[in-house]
């Protein structure tokens, strides 16, 4: 039976979620503003 003495790499899932939120939140704001403006093509 062999034992792996090297430490397992840290879990990066929280970092991945935070990083995507960092860039995703302003992008969602931009898209929301865009959709509101684009709707004028059909209502204006």
């Amino acid at each position: 039976m062999s034992h792996d003495s090297s430490p397992s790499p840290p879990d990066r899932r929280v970092l991945i979620v935070l990083a995507w939120l960092w860039v995703g939140a302003p992008l969602c704001y931009g898209l929301y503003e865009l959709v509101q403006k684009a709707a004028q093509l059909f209502s204006g």
């Binding site: 397992s8 790499p9 840290p10 990066r12 970092l15 991945i16 990083a19 995507w20 960092w22 860039v23 302003p26 992008l27 704001y29 931009g30 898209l31 503003e33 865009l34 403006k37 684009a38 709707a39 004028q40 093509l41 059909f42 209502s43 204006g44």
Partner: protein, 443 residues
């Protein structure tokens, strides 16, 4: 600064947000028009004068991407993102000083020259790193980043407008808005600087490519190949065709349906422009990802061939059907965005990953050329047609025919793209290091 190597277990899904934090920031450039009216009234400028900072920024984008590409490859993505952060943010800070002291030349220097340098270095900073992390899906990876450049204006446009509304549109309000922009973008881009990593086992570009990497061509050799210039023509023609619509989108849709039973209002035209931005952005990620499945040459056949068909539809049938006009324009704009986002992966296929960022930087001169060519064609022809007494859709007919011709030229150039001849390949690693020592790149 040595390239930051990923520690064991580093996820490649941390690299796209790093790239996006830079591209979403520098994409602000396309929202410069928000600052134009306040600057004109606060500093007594003409429309041409208030466009100067943006125009210089785009020129500097092309120049810094073309001439700074080799430095980016040599020093790595963290160095490049740091330079982009410092230049882009300090450009705003210098502009804030210019607005506060009512010295317009400082705004031109700050936003145009200093900030524009940040645009070019920032634009190419994540490209080769993303391709190395996603060798299985290079189109998707670069599509995500380059989509961010399109998305940057979507964020900045309402954000900047809101800020000017709150701070006021006089010179001190503009100065405060510039200051907040500079500081906010510095914080936002820091994520990219902190997160970006090159894959483990990746060696600095100066030491040459790995023998296992397949075909590799240096930036210096790439510009001597016909493939590079064929791609240059492809990109230039595709971008020119997109700008042909983008440049005059709002007046175009108004003119097309001016004589119909349901003319297009100003707010509906603004909605059309917003939809085009969405298509541009969606095309960057959508078409670029599709290129991973159907191949780069085929996707450019679609951009150029179907793009010409869409222009023909607008030219001959556009004024008879509003949905047809809108749909065709959306498809053309999605191809415009797709063309930008797919080209790094096309370069990787032809020249390898060795100096793909630097080669991409040099290719972006096609964008600068198209930026001049597209508006020139559409505006000149529309002005001439108007002077000749024409109106409505006939103002644009000749422009559209020229666009079809340009797309056909691009289509033919794409057909000439073949694998790069072996004489341009970088030799084995030991020889490559010798070559790098003997031919230090000055660009």
């Amino acid at each position: 600064m040595s390239p930051p190597v990923a520690p064991p277990g580093w996820s490649r899904w941390l690299v796209p947000p790093a790239a996006l934090s830079v591209h979403l920031s520098i994409g602000q450039a396309y929202a410069w028009s928000v600052f134009k009216p306040p600057l004109e009234s606060a500093l007594g400028l003409s429309g041409t004068q208030s466009a100067l900072p943006f125009q210089l920024a785009i020129v500097m984008l092309g120049l810094s991407a073309a001439f700074g590409g080799t430095l980016v490859e040599r020093n790595g993505p963290r160095w490049a993102m740091t330079v982009a952060l410092v230049c882009f943010s300090s450009g705003f800070l210098v502009s804030a000083l210019g607005a506060a002291t009512e010295q317009y030349w400082l705004i031109v220097l700050g936003y145009g020259f200093v900030g524009g340098t940040g645009l070019g270095i920032g634009y190419i900073s994540p490209v080769s790193t993303l391709i190395k992390w996603f060798p299985d899906r290079p189109g998707m990876a670069t599509g995500i980043a380059i989509m961010g450049f399109g998305g940057g204006a979507l964020i900045a446009s309402p954000w900047s407008a809101q800020m000017l509304k709150s701070f006021g549109s006089d010179s001190s309000g503009i100065a405060l808005a510039f200051l907040v922009h500079g500081l906010s973008y510095a914080v936002f881009m820091t994520l990219g600087v902190l997160l970006v990593r090159v894959p483990r086992g990746e060696r600095p570009a100066a030491s040459g490519p790995s023998a296992l990497d397949g075909v590799q061509v240096s930036a210096r050799s790439a510009v001597r190949t016909p493939q590079f210039w064929c791609l240059w023509i492809v990109l230039c023609m595709n971008v020119t065709a997109g700008i042909g619509i983008l440049e005059k989108a709002a007046p175009m849709i108004t003119d097309f349906f001016a004589d119909g039973s349901t003319p297009v209002t100003a707010s509906a035209a603004a909605g059309f422009v917003a939809l085009l931005s969405a298509a541009n952005m969606a095309g960057r990620i959508g078409w670029s990802s599709t290129s991973d499945l159907i191949g780069r040459k085929n996707i450019y056949r679609v951009y150029l061939g179907v793009g010409a068909l869409m222009y023909a539809l607008i030219a001959w049938l556009g004024d008879s059907s509003k949905p047809l006009f809108v749909l065709s324009a959306l498809v053309i704009l999605s191809f415009y965005g797709g063309g930008f986002a797919t080209v790094p992966a096309y370069l990787k296929d032809l020249f390898g990953t060795y100096q793909v960022g630097a080669i991409h930087g040099r290719l972006l001169t096609a964008w600068s050329t198209a930026g001049v060519l597209g508006p020139l064609i559409v505006n000149r022809i529309a002005d001439h047609q108007e002077a000749a007494g024409r109106h409505g859709s006939s103002l644009y007919g000749l422009s559209f025919l020229i666009m079809i011709g340009l797309l056909a030229v691009g289509f033919v150039a794409n057909e000439f793209v073949r694998p790069v001849h072996a004489r341009h390949h970088v030799p084995a690693p030991r020889e490559a290091a010798d070559v790098a020592r003997q031919q230090p790149e000055s660009a």
